[in-house]
Symmetry: C2
Subunit: 320 residues, 2 copies
């Protein structure tokens, strides 16, 4: 089977069928009708075998995660996800793998109302790159650069579960039976906070998604916004599963430096803070205030019971 | 040096500075103001070390080619190139390589008035994926699916030079000294037919770019348009350099199945054919009529002096 038949079979009709896609998979490029009065938001994420996943990982979960990590970036911008491109590099044709991987992409893309509109399939070491595109009302995109001194810092959901899930999958950490499914699910089938991200458009001063761990990720907001931050580690939202599975310090470490949570980190000024719970309650996602933005440019201060919390960051960095 | 500093150093300001880019490199995603009344065109191409190039190839030429192959797809759609995303997978940090590669992207992106707006850098086997985005007036995008029976088939420029350049670079074919620079240039620094592609918007019934060789590529038009084609191999436009370097059959073989020419293939109905030379002459690119579209669905007929030309295709196919 040639490259083109392969693509046609597994990737010609993936995800939602959107009426704004004039030309999808199969031409030199995709043609898309962008909604007037909106800005386009574009993001790209690569997952490399041996770096971000293992060659024998469940291909359906990989397809799910590839879509989710990209959609999560769009969510952090306050964008509505819409169109996906896939660059797939494969060492060989494995039909079972392809069918499962494309099924994972298909069901997740459909869930987020996204259509796969094109891409490229090549031969080489297993690697998955997705470019996701979405829409935001003109001028309403969230960014990492808008945090203001005095802003309250919030995160969605709970932190550290995905990192514990990775340890569990690798056999490096025990988790009691009743929590195993939840913890593995958080690692293998993460969710993107799309509705909440859109709800933050007129509320948050800055936002980003947590992919490499809070401790490292928040530095981007500090850098781009030229501010500092003070975080109370005791306020970090931890799941019951995480608390039951780890001692305190391990739990704080996973919450601070464990990657792949795909929760949102955002900052809100004092005058918008009062109505926050009411405005965000319809989205069914817990939000937790974990600290404040300070004027100490580039400085991240961790506190516990009003004491400085001493912490050696273990954030994931390629090329570190 | 961490991943983020690396990206910031070499990829934070690459290509043209466009006023429609609200947020570029450095946030969760790029934010782009799309021109009203236009459709968005998106294309993705991957180049894998060992499959599409060699690890010791000139990184500046690689940067140039990565941009050009993507822009060429936009040209084939009649689109105006605008924004690029780069997914770069590297086995290690090599500053010389990075500086040359980003210089190649920068100068080529600038030439085509494109801005690099984001991407991802990861560790793994060397691989380059670019997603290019462009604009076309609403409803005016060219496609592979519009060819009509009776259309005249045209190609731009000359065919087979890039394939000869690859053989020359590999030491597999001799080329006389006076032609070497031209032939290597055609392989290492191809051009995308952007202005001509835009000029074809109201002229061509179908169009595509030639990346894998005419013989294989035209099948996409036959398949998508449900037509056939008859091509006179004696009409294939060959450069003097190619004719001087090869016997007739080798030259036809390179022109039919040699990849990476990045010329445009397009079809035009009889009633638009008369004014074609006049309309396209300002673009300084030769066009050559090489045959007709027929009603024999899916059939590609090659002729030479009115006789059937017997040819064993050698088109490049991943996973073939």
């Amino acid at each position: 089977m040639g490259e083109f038949e392969l693509i046609a079979k597994y990737f010609s009709a993936v995800g939602a069928k959107r009426s704004d896609v004039i030309t999808g998979v199969g031409d030199d490029g995709a043609v898309i009708q962008v909604r007037d009065g909106h800005d386009l938001v574009v993001t790209t994420d690569t997952m490399v075998s041996g770096t971000h996943f293992f060659a024998n990982d469940d291909p359906r979960a990989l397809g799910h995660k590839l879509v989710t990590v990209n959609i999560s970036d769009l969510a952090a911008m306050g964008a509505e996800p819409a169109w996906l491109s896939l660059a797939l590099t494969l060492p060989e044709v494995n039909e079972h793998w392809l069918s499962q991987f494309s099924a994972g992409i298909n069901e997740t893309a459909e869930y987020y109302n996204c259509q796969l509109v094109g891409g490229d399939t090549t031969r080489g070491p297993l690697s998955l790159t997705m470019t996701a595109k979405g829409l935001v009302p003109r001028g309403k995109a969230l960014s990492r650069s808008g945090a203001k001194v005095g802003d309250y810092i919030y995160v969605t959901g709970t932190l550290g579960d995905a990192a514990l899930g990775l340890k569990l999958q690798q056999g490096l950490h025990q988790v009691s039976k009743k929590h195993q499914t939840h913890i593995l699910q958080r690692f293998q089938y993460p969710s993107a906070r799309v509705a909440l991200g859109q709800a933050l458009r007129n509320i948050a001063n800055s936002a980003m998604d947590l992919s490499d761990g809070l401790y490292g990720d928040i530095q981007h907001i500090l850098h781009r916004s030229a501010v500092g931050a003070s975080i109370d580690v005791q306020k970090l939202p931890l799941s019951q599963a995480l608390k039951d599975s780890c001692d305190n310090n391990t739990a704080y470490g996973l919450a601070l430096s464990g990657g792949e949570d795909y929760e949102l980190l955002f900052t809100v000024s004092e005058n918008k803070r009062g109505s926050l719970d009411v405005l965000l309650s319809p989205y069914g996602v817990a939000i937790t205030c974990i600290g404040r933005i300070t004027g100490a440019i580039g400085k991240l201060e961790l506190k516990k019971s009003e004491q400085t919390f001493s912490y050696q960051p273990q954030g994931f960095k390629h090329f570190a």
